[in-house]
């Protein structure tokens, strides 16, 4: 039996008519081109155009130079790139285990009543504006770090360059803590989805063999969910890299590279926030915009990876971040 090809009048173009429906499709199509594609293209174009004076003056060296001296016209992005990477990694180091703990607690341990109360509370954290977290960081967290957290770290781990004193309240460590707090909601909620997606048959199988809850989670649940959890971590990383206000307010804003986490630092987002309105000459401004371009590129790469992964594993829709 032969299969005949489609033979709609509308499909074979015999009588393509310009209807209201065509108009409707074109109208919405144009709106979506303007609001998304033109916007993205414009964003990229403006960033490249705006940073061009710096791009053409400093070239690739910009990324590897540690000098940042607007007065003498020396501009190097490395202290900021370094600060962004270190503070984000620190945030992941603290935030990821906690987020996984929360995700396991809320899916596997808590009773449904506790869960119904606590999960909105954790999500509430995501609704707090970052400037307010920064305000709290300045007046509550930074003093706490200086007086209660840094001294024991220096005492016990001071032999490591990472914890060399003296301790400042405004430090990379404080920024890492603030970022950890800010990425916990997204990582824990996506991880919860991932854990919930584990077939209960698999879990019950392990439990039936006499495994404890811990063993079941380590040997069955986490391996099954690890892809999606990795996506969640990348989403959190994207967040941490681009976060501006809270970090600017607690990191100390010092464009020098210190190994010690107890010393102040600077991030890409923070230097833009802090110095943009002060940048009077063109090259200074262009250098800041170029830092913006680098930040944009890095966070795009991280976000695209995160989205591809979470989609693949969870068919997760946006709305969580």
């Amino acid at each position: 039996m032969k299969l005949r090809v489609p033979s709609f009048s509308i499909l074979n173009g015999k009588s393509w008519k310009f209807t209201h429906d065509t108009l409707f499709q074109i109208f919405l199509g144009v709106i979506s081109i303007i609001s998304v594609i033109v916007l993205a293209a414009l964003l990229l174009r403006e960033l490249i155009k705006g940073s061009w004076p710096a791009l053409s003056t400093f070239g690739l060296e910009f990324l590897f130079s540690t000098a940042w001296n607007p007065v003498t016209g020396e501009f190097g992005a490395l202290p900021f790139i370094y600060g962004t990477i270190v503070s984000s990694m620190l945030a992941l180091l603290i935030g990821v285990p906690l987020s996984l703990g929360i995700a396991v607690y809320l899916t596997e341990i808590a009773s449904s009543r506790v869960r119904a109360i606590l999960s909105p509370v954790v999500e509430l954290l995501a609704a707090i504006p970052s400037v307010i977290i920064g305000l709290w960081g300045i007046f509550v967290l930074a003093p706490f770090v200086r007086e209660h957290l840094a001294p024991p770290l220096m005492n016990y781990l001071g032999f490591l360059p990472l914890f060399k004193g003296p301790a400042y309240g405004y430090s990379v460590l404080t920024a890492g803590l603030v970022l950890a707090i800010m990425i916990i909601p997204i990582i824990s909620s996506v991880s919860r989805e991932a854990i919930l997606a584990v077939p209960s048959l698999q879990k019950e199988g392990a439990l039936a063999l006499g495994a404890t809850r811990f063993e079941t989670i380590i040997s069955v649940v986490l391996p099954y969910a690890k892809g999606a959890i990795f996506g969640a971590v990348m989403l959190g990383l994207g967040r941490a890299i681009g976060e501006t206000m809270a970090v600017t307010m607690v990191i100390g804003n010092n464009p020098q590279i210190f190994t010690s986490l107890l010393h102040p630092g600077y991030t890409m987002a923070a230097v833009i926030a802090n110095e943009f309105t002060e940048a009077t000459d063109d090259v200074y401004l262009a250098a800041l915009i170029e830092i913006g371009l680098v930040l944009f590129a890095i966070s795009m790469v991280v976000n695209i990876i995160a989205r591809v992964i979470t989609w693949k594993y969870l068919k997760l829709e946006e709305g969580l971040s």
């Binding site: 499709q25 199509g29 509370v121 509430l124 707090i128 504006p129 966070s299």
Partner: protein, 276 residues
């Protein structure tokens, strides 16, 4: 491993999970507590309605910043909501077109743009071109943040509308455009409104995009082409200032901002839970 230590491991692990949850909730509690305690004593009618005074001068308020926040968020909404809903409708109605795939991917990418970058963008696009900081530039920066979220939320809400409703309308001889407006869009309206309000709650607290777009102003709003004060920028400026009384005022306005955002957030979620 013997049974005893296996049990101990299990206990330890359970303890770790509970402790993690507590560790996440403690900062939240501390924030809300501090904001309330330090902010409450500052709040007064004057504080909500008057202009700021110079440091160390008693009295004065954040009235202009509250007004300015509404204006900038309003401008962002006027730009962002129609564009976002239109694009979201396109994605929901014509999901198989190539344009849809490109738009969908780009919208996803845009949700990850750091907020400070949208500030640079609006600075280059508006401030540089039109000669100065302005409420409009702030609105454009926030609209840039808003659009991808509204696109997504509209698309999702419309895709939740059962295909049978669409077919029922088409089977009555309704054209497609009429079907998507009168049946699909109107059935999805609660979902879309919820999403839009949540997006507004999210951008209302954004500071970074406004720092060098809307900038700041010690006076009342006077035109979209002039700089304007907003709550988040005021909080930032006052928080990093060296003055004690400004710190206190920063807490006061933090309380105002958090209250507005939380009321909006919780209110929407409760309302959505009851399906309005």
């Amino acid at each position: 491993m013997n049974m005893l230590s296996r049990k101990a491991m299990d206990r330890l692990f359970t303890f770790f999970c509970i402790a993690s949850t507590a560790l996440a909730i403690i900062p939240l509690g501390s924030m809300l507590y501090t904001i309330f305690v330090k902010g409450f004593s500052v709040i007064s009618i004057d504080f909500l309605t008057k202009l700021p005074t110079p440091a160390r001068e008693a009295g004065g308020g954040f009235g202009n910043a509250i007004q300015g926040s509404f204006i900038v968020v309003g401008i962002a909404s006027i730009i962002g909501i129609p564009l976002g809903i239109g694009a979201g409708m396109y994605l929901a109605e014509f999901p198989n077109s190539r344009l849809s795939r490109i738009v969908s991917f780009t919208a996803d990418v845009l949700t990850g743009v750091p907020s400070i970058i949208t500030g640079i963008f609006a600075y280059l696009l508006i401030v540089l071109r039109f000669g100065g900081f302005s409420a409009l530039a702030g609105g454009v920066a926030l609209a840039t943040m808003m659009i991808p979220f509204i696109v997504r939320t509209t698309e999702e809400a419309m895709k939740l509308v059962p295909a049978e409703l669409r077919e029922a309308s088409l089977a009555l001889g309704a054209p497609r455009w009429k079907t998507s407006l009168a049946v699909v869009l109107s059935t999805a309206r609660f979902g879309i409104i919820t999403g839009v309000l949540l997006t507004i709650a999210r951008i209302a607290g954004e500071t970074a995009p406004l720092l060098f777009t809307a900038f700041n102003n010690r006076f009342w709003f006077d035109g979209v082409m002039n700089p304007v004060a907003t709550l988040p920028v005021m909080i930032y400026t006052y928080a990093i200032s060296p003055f004690e009384d400004w710190h206190a005022q920063a807490w006061g306005s933090a309380l105002v901002l958090v209250a507005m955002i939380l009321v909006l957030n919780i209110g929407i979620k409760l309302a959505a839970g009851r399906r309005w």
